[in-house]
Amino acid sequence: MKQVNVSPERQIAPLLFVALSVDAVVRPFVVPDQISAQSAVWAAAFSAVSVCAVCAVFFRVVSDRSLRLLRSGRMAQAKAVLLLFAAVTALSGGSSLVTTERFYRYVSDEPTLSLITAAIVLLAALYAVSRGMLTMTRAAGVICVLFAAGAALLLISAAGSMRIENLSFSAYPFSGAALRITTSCVFPAELLCFLLLKLPMHKSGARCIRRAVVWMALFFAGAAVAAELVLGARAAQQMQPLHTLARLGGLSVFKRFDALHVGIWLLALLMKQSLLLYGTRTAVRGLLPERAANACLPAAMALTLAGAFVCAAVPQRVVGVVLSYGTLAAFGGALLFSKCLGVEQ
């Protein structure tokens, strides 16, 4: 009874959108970016264009067959690339775990122990991964709707406090901020997870990634503008500007929508954690022999925990840069692997 088939690639877009956009609402706890909304819009556009360009080139050059061979990990070169994939996704998973724990401590007056929070998040991600990617994409669709509804509510509840004069304009935004815009460009490790799926990525999959990245950039730019409309120049000094916006906003007698937003953002963070754990598990599967298939998930969890310890010890800004370059390196590794295959043939 499969008369009306839904293309699974189409389902990827909400998952990717949720996993990427949550970084805009729950930001890593670093020194505030100090960039204005105007610069943030350019940064988002620059990021989106860069990521889309890399993906476009990658999917044009790399065939589905080489990705399949890469996933299988039968060749030594594939194993080397998968090792890089596993390292980047595990480090990104660890970073996400640390961010979630810090965010939870930030919003909760009586926080749970860090280890317990991390254990709960990892267990939820473990359950998600054990249910499989199909389940995760469906759940991401539901969470995406909640996320979008939450964003709309945030906008409506903060609309009363928005002042157009709070926006700061600069005639030459690139003169001082060009370096900052380019350095704030990120290559999220979540993209790597999609290379590990058993899907024909070069067709609709690539289009969906592009769509999700564009939507994410719009969301990021919108969030930055909304934050500056309400908070003015102070928006750039906030650790979590959207949480501040949620805390300030309200509709009539309803003043504590922030609790609702935090709930939705936690769901999105859990989804992101699950996706990264899935990516690590899939990369580890290619590295381990067939008979050790059951050990892949525990190994992925151990790697993520190790990544979390690293991220907790190293400054978050450094982690961000390492992750971006690591993702680019992993893309490059996959590209090289594809070329090697072509030469061998």
Binding site: D109, A139, G141, G263, L267
Partner: protein, 486 residues
């Protein structure tokens, strides 16, 4: 291989007597029909001798109806008389047992290795009445009864086309319960029909007294709080589901018909929705969804907020909760669990006892025990209010009672021990659990996830009949996914 009937009347009689032992309700009588020695077999209470007399014996006892050969009598009965015999005769003892226990009369003829069957059923059964659990404001008042044939006739009366297919089979090693599978020849996907048929035939059960016994054999082995099969007591609901291309499974002895496949959104729909204006039906559905989430989350969120993030509560309410909590010996989440436990006990007591006593128990529990527990300082009023609200919301979606009850307790535990992160993680797992379920190849959360435009026609809300009629929905329109990854 089934044991065949022989030509010897005596041998057949001995074998049937062996089969049923010394059952007091098993009736046999030797008679001579048209000059041939015969034996009438039937079960008292299931079959009526008066009816047999009127239908057959009276005609055959006429002196001019003499037949010399038994084969000639059999042939005469089966083909040349107006006696309304069953079209199929019994050729083995299994057939004889099946026919006798179905309430028909079996007539053995000496010298013939077959037996004729006459429908003389006269069994007692509950009359067709309004279903107790699926009340409706408008629409049919008919509910299924325990007798399968009556239930089949109720559905047949509503779908008067040649496309309604009824297949029967038996299940239950010790009970040999008759099952019926009803579906629409054109709309039900053939693969689905084949799958259900195979699963029902291969279900190894010692006995079957309700369609619920078969549910685990039809569903996925993977654990879930929710069921991918549904139940109805209403003939119009069953007919509507058949017209959507679904399959109805009925079991003799149970007034509950099973609906397969069944989706999450169907728990929030009722037959009334389709008789009312679309906007009102949609509003009622939205209320039901809200009630479901309140039933599952309210207590857990309340416990979590009051324990971990009390600043979210308005000051006045916070003082009252704090005052209430100081007066009680248990932590908030244990109080909430205790109230849930008490509510379940009261419900069980009210359900199992005779109805008048059940009402008294509910009254005593609600007024005396509840009030006394609050006055004695065992429970605080806010916890009781949250529990009562949750309980009322649960009754809005009765088909989800079981998952709601379990999930509510889990959310109380998660919220009480781990706070908001516990609630969020459990909610995430619940969403995954719902999203991971498939109902015979179609996602259980369909048409919500994966999203489909049907969600605006007859999903979370309902469109008006003009639009619904134009779309002409069937189960095949729901999206399904294939993915080689998992």
């Amino acid at each position: 291989m089934a044991e065949q009937l022989t030509k010897s009347l005596l041998e057949n009689k001995i074998r049937i007597k062996e089969m049923f032992g010394d059952c007091v309700d098993f009736y046999t009588k030797d008679v001579t029909l048209c000059g041939c020695r015969c034996c009438i077999c039937m079960f008292e209470g299931l079959s009526s001798i008066e009816r047999l007399w009127i239908m057959m014996l009276d005609i055959l006892s006429q002196p001019h109806e003499l037949r010399r050969e038994p084969e000639d009598l059999f042939d005469y009965l089966m083909r040349r008389t107006a006696i309304p015999l069953e079209s199929r005769s019994c050729v083995c003892f299994d057939d004889v047992r099946t026919q006798l226990t179905a309430g028909t009369s079996v007539i053995l003829i000496d010298g013939v290795a077959q037996a004729v069957v006459l429908s003389t059923q006269s069994m007692q059964f509950r009359s067709v009445s309004e279903p107790s659990g699926e009340g409706n404001v408008r629409g049919s008042r008919e509910g299924f009864t325990e007798l399968l044939r009556v239930n089949l006739s109720l559905v047949r009366r509503l779908i008067r086309t040649g496309d309604l297919v009824v297949e029967t089979m038996t299940a239950g090693e010790r009970t040999q319960t008759e099952l019926a599978m009803l579906y629409h020849r054109q709309l039900a996907p053939k693969a689905l029909v084949e799958t259900i048929r195979r699963k029902l035939r291969t279900a190894q059960l010692p006995f079957v007294f309700d369609t619920g016994y078969l549910a685990p054999f039809l569903q996925s082995k993977r654990f879930s709080f929710f069921q991918s099969v549904g139940y109805t007591e209403r003939s119009d609901t069953a007919a509507a589901k058949i017209c959507e291309g679904k399959i109805i499974v009925m079991a003799n002895g149970s007034p509950f018909a099973m609906i397969v496949p069944y989706f999450f959104t169907e728990n929030f729909a009722s037959m009334d929705d389709y008789s009312e204006k679309a906007y009102f039906a949609s509003l009622v559905r939205l209320f039901k969804y809200t009630a479901f989430f309140l039933a599952v989350l309210l207590q857990g969120v309340f416990v979590s907020v009051a324990t971990f993030t009390p600043e979210l509560l308005p000051d006045t309410m916070l003082y009252k909760i704090a005052a209430g909590e100081q007066a009680t010996p248990l932590p908030l989440f244990l109080e909430a669990l205790l109230v849930t436990f008490l509510l379940e006990i009261v419900r069980e007591a009210g359900l199992r006892l005779p109805r008048p006593i059940g009402h008294s128990v509910s009254l005593v529990a609600a007024l005396i025990v509840g009030d006394a527990a609050v006055n004695a300082g065992l429970l605080s009023t806010p916890v009781v209010i949250a529990a009562a609200l949750s309980a009322i919301c649960t009754f809005v979606v009765p088909s989800l009672y079981e998952p709601i009850t379990v999930l509510r307790s889990l959310f109380v535990l998660a919220g009480g021990i781990f706070g908001p992160i516990g609630i969020a993680a459990l909610l995430f797992c619940m969403v995954l659990n719902l999203c991971g379920m498939d109902s015979f190849g179609v996602p259980y959360l369909s048409p919500v996830a994966p999203p489909s435009r049907i969600v605006w026609n007859d999903g979370i809300v309902r469109a008006n009949w003009r639009k619904l009629a134009a779309e002409n929905f069937s189960v095949s329109d729901l999206p399904s996914e294939t993915w080689g990854d998992d």
